[in-house]
Subunit: 224 residues, 2 copies
Amino acid sequence: MRDLLTHAVEDYLKAIYDLSLNFGRASTTQIAEVLDVAPASVTGMVKKLASTNPPLVEYQKHRGVVLTQDGEKIALEIIRHHRLLELFLHETLGYSWDEVDAEADRLEHVISDKFEQRIAEVLGDPTHDPHGDPIPTRDLEMPSHATLCLAHLRPDERGSIQRVRDTDPELLRYLGGHGIVPQASFTVMGYTPFDGNLTLRVNGQEEPVVLGTRITQQIFVERE
Amino acid sequence: MRDLLTHAVEDYLKAIYDLSLNFGRASTTQIAEVLDVAPASVTGMVKKLASTNPPLVEYQKHRGVVLTQDGEKIALEIIRHHRLLELFLHETLGYSWDEVDAEADRLEHVISDKFEQRIAEVLGDPTHDPHGDPIPTRDLEMPSHATLCLAHLRPDERGSIQRVRDTDPELLRYLGGHGIVPQASFTVMGYTPFDGNLTLRVNGQEEPVVLGTRITQQIFVERE
DNA sequence: ATCCTTTTTTAGGCAAGACTAAATTCGGCC
DNA sequence: GGCCGAATTTAGTCTTGCCTAAAAAAGGAT
């Protein structure tokens, strides 16, 4: 009964975990979008996840799913794998921060507990991946993370970058090129009310940058 | 047409490569044994491999298969992955030499060219894995390897361990415990004619070891 | 309350890769 | 030359995970 942990299953659980963080539960359509799969496929898989022993999700028709404790545990294991791998690729193998996500996506399903443990040791039990996302601890506690997004800051406010959504490699390259990486400090110079563009001066950078809301919604910060 | 490189396909090619080294070609039954799969399944897969474009094996009914150039190239890529990974796990992540094979078996199908390149760099373009097996070069040349097996040495001959078959973790632990690892020097002390037991004194070890033919056939050496 | 759009489900299919059981072919031996 | 046993192939199924198209259910707006 435990061998139902296919790669596909793991991907579903990860997606459901993420969606639940934002919306409380995950709808069929949302899951289908995230995984780039037909909605009908999701229904099928979700039914399977709900009827394993133990069940990994709670499923109500037309109301989407929530992870059970068992499901959440597995999701956190995979996320720990993923984020440790990202950091490992970055720190030890010299990957840039826009390259790590794709490679980690494939490796996360395949590494053993031993591998996980070893890279955690090599990295000194790190708490954050290269994009600033928190890494679940060994006993699968998820540390809290910044939720204030850059779009909400106003002129003259200062802050530090906490994390950046890791989905788009090109965006990451762009941001990296302007010094916008976790821990960087900055000051908001200007803000245009209608289109919401922010002008940012990043400490240590010559030129200020102008960022649209498409971008500033992907960046999470702490006020200083 | 190139996406036919499933994990299963890669495993078949690897197995066929190995068998061809020893026997010139690979029979259905042999492949089935190596992969722990029913012979009928092998026939099916082998037909597929022979009818792709380009074909990866040459197949004649009832006479087994040989790799084509294309098939061999892929096999060597996988073997390079595997052996680089083994060494990486051993050197960088502190795995013991009996643990690396299983982990590498899963990772080899999943890592990118970039990953391969990076670990090769970190390891300084190594030529041999922890069991002494040669690692194909970047342009997929397979270095030659020792073929003289320990069972063929006679009393008073001296030599050095070159490589050890990596299939059985327990054997590897046993041998490692007695200092029998690649590059170790030794002297053959005695040999019993009927059962073929060898008594070995390994340089740097207190106690000599007695090894049966089941073991001495798995160890390859160079005379000194 | 009903209509309409969105979401979900049903139903039917496909591709990989494995299996079993039943045929067939090969190779050696008399 | 014919027979036997081992090796191989054929034929037919199963499972997983995905797909599409079309039916059905929810839920919001009027």
